[in-house]
Symmetry: C2
Subunit: 310 residues, 2 copies
């Protein structure tokens, strides 16, 4: 058996409170690992999937990572190459943490590394997006772009892949809790009103603008004041048990802000440093422990590298 190449693509927090559908940031953990190696059998084959409890298909055409990889191989004219892929799902599926994006990104990253980087990392984005599209039916880069490139990313336009990394003040930590309840992305979307009240739109615009100003100026207090989602969160909160209880506990523990990660049910908070992020994590856990809801907790700086070769 040939030696393999292993890559890691991180989970990500879509929306980031003020950037519905246009912003997301990457975590250092959790994420997906993929190992690829050349084989004598032509074509791409998925030979092993771990950690997915049978939820993910082995057919590359139906698997997010496999499909993204195939799209890249097509582009490179390398579909005939014999390649074996192992997918190690090391993060929860359907958690609102960009699980399909991490798989898609890991898929293209692995192929690009195996073939000795025919493309620059940023140019892998459209192929990863095709994997994401297979999984979610949406052409949104707000998880794929941060998982690939790292950092907090704003996507101006998904069609033209016009995306931009934002600066992140040193020390800011994310705390994320995933309560084990099911929220389907399509349900989380279908409950959203098609219309936003003009006043809320104005308020959210101001918050998004000042959030970005806060990031550029390392103005932690402004970041905190700005991290308020007055449009999406009030509509989706009811899909997440004890959301407001968690949020209240988190803010009391000293977080800068707290909202829903992607379509939920995960809840994220940003804190000025790792100590507060730990306190915030304890506060989150207490709520779900008391409610007897299983949960996973992740505490992580903002991932600045995105997908990497391990």
């Amino acid at each position: 058996m040939q030696p393999g190449i292993k890559v890691f693509a991180p989970a990500s927090v879509g929306n980031a409170a003020v950037g519905f559908d246009v912003m997301g940031f990457a975590l250092e953990q959790p994420g997906d690992e993929i190992t690829v190696r050349f084989s004598d059998t032509p074509g791409l084959r998925i030979t092993l999937i771990s950690g997915a409890q049978g939820k993910l298909p082995y057919d590359p055409l139906k698997n997010t990572a496999g499909f993204a990889a195939l799209k890249l191989l097509e582009h490179l004219g390398e579909t005939g190459r014999g390649i074996e892929m192992e997918l190690h799902k090391k993060m929860p599926i359907g958690s609102g943490l960009g699980s399909s994006a991490a798989s898609a990104v890991a898929g293209v990253m692995a192929i690009n590394e195996l073939l000795k980087r025919p493309l620059e990392k940023k140019d892998l984005l459209p192929f990863a997006l095709q994997g994401e599209y297979l999984a979610s039916g949406g052409w949104h880069a707000d998880n794929v772009a941060p998982s690939l490139m790292g950092g907090l990313v704003l996507i101006r336009d998904n069609e033209t892949m016009d995306f931009h990394r934002l600066p992140m003040p040193r020390g800011i930590y994310a705390t994320v809790i995933y309560p084990h309840v099911e929220v389907l992305t399509k349900d989380a979307r279908s409950i959203l009103s098609d219309a936003v009240p003009l006043k809320k739109f104005i308020q959210q615009s101001a918050n998004m603008g000042s959030f970005i100003i806060g990031l550029y100026n390392s103005d932690i207090s402004l970041i905190g004041r700005s991290l308020q989602d007055v449009i999406i969160e009030p509509q989706r909160a009811r899909l997440i048990p004890h959301f407001y209880e968690v949020k209240e506990a988190v803010m009391k523990a000293g977080a800068l802000g707290c909202s829903i990660s992607g379509a939920g049910p995960s809840i994220f908070a940003l804190s000025a440093n790792s100590l507060i992020a730990e306190e915030v994590g304890e506060a989150m856990k207490r709520v779900y422990a008391q409610a007897k809801i299983e949960h996973d907790l992740y505490i992580s700086p903002i991932n600045q590298e995105g997908a990497i070769k391990c």
Copy 2:
């Protein structure tokens, strides 16, 4: 007669395409001039108004500049002081260029200078806002803040005066044309839908975010791509004769972006340098000359100082 103190407060462009009700920038010209001096007669009196064609009242309680000045004098416990005020209106009223904001700012600036600066400039904002409120009935700082402080300003929250100056890449020029047609602010507001389609909200958010990123990174191309108002402009354009004709000509002339200034009817464009701004001005004028609509044209860098003592 005592020697007077003269101040200037500039016109401003509210909304700036992507920041409806929360953003505005100051021009170097036009603007309002106010001269104040002590007098032996107690109380504030407006003794001269020029350039307003009889549209502005002499009663300080009913005059934007006078009312703002009175509110500041009240705060300072100086309402008994004899002060004469001359208001030289050097910009059009009802043009969408923040005429009332300029008057209110000049009023408070003049009093503060006359009394040897008891307050810092930024702390004059709430008093200027009260003058603006008298004129427009709205508690919005998107004209007052840039007229006072200069630059491009984002207001996160009008209640707490949480406002922030944005960087502006060197060389960027504004071109503004004021066609002599009447658009009442209240009409311009009443035609706006109370609701914003979710998709448009997402698009506008992305544009506002990337506009700010463009400003911080001096990314002129990104500034241009981002300067698109997909929400307010399409609703208000019909109030302004030949709006789309002007916009098309302006973009052909090489502007970065073009939209309505405040509630209109003025139209503004931003350009990468003064030469393009001149071309843009010619293009604007041609449209209104052909349509036989009187107009005023202003070409100006972004004013970085705001209100000044002359």
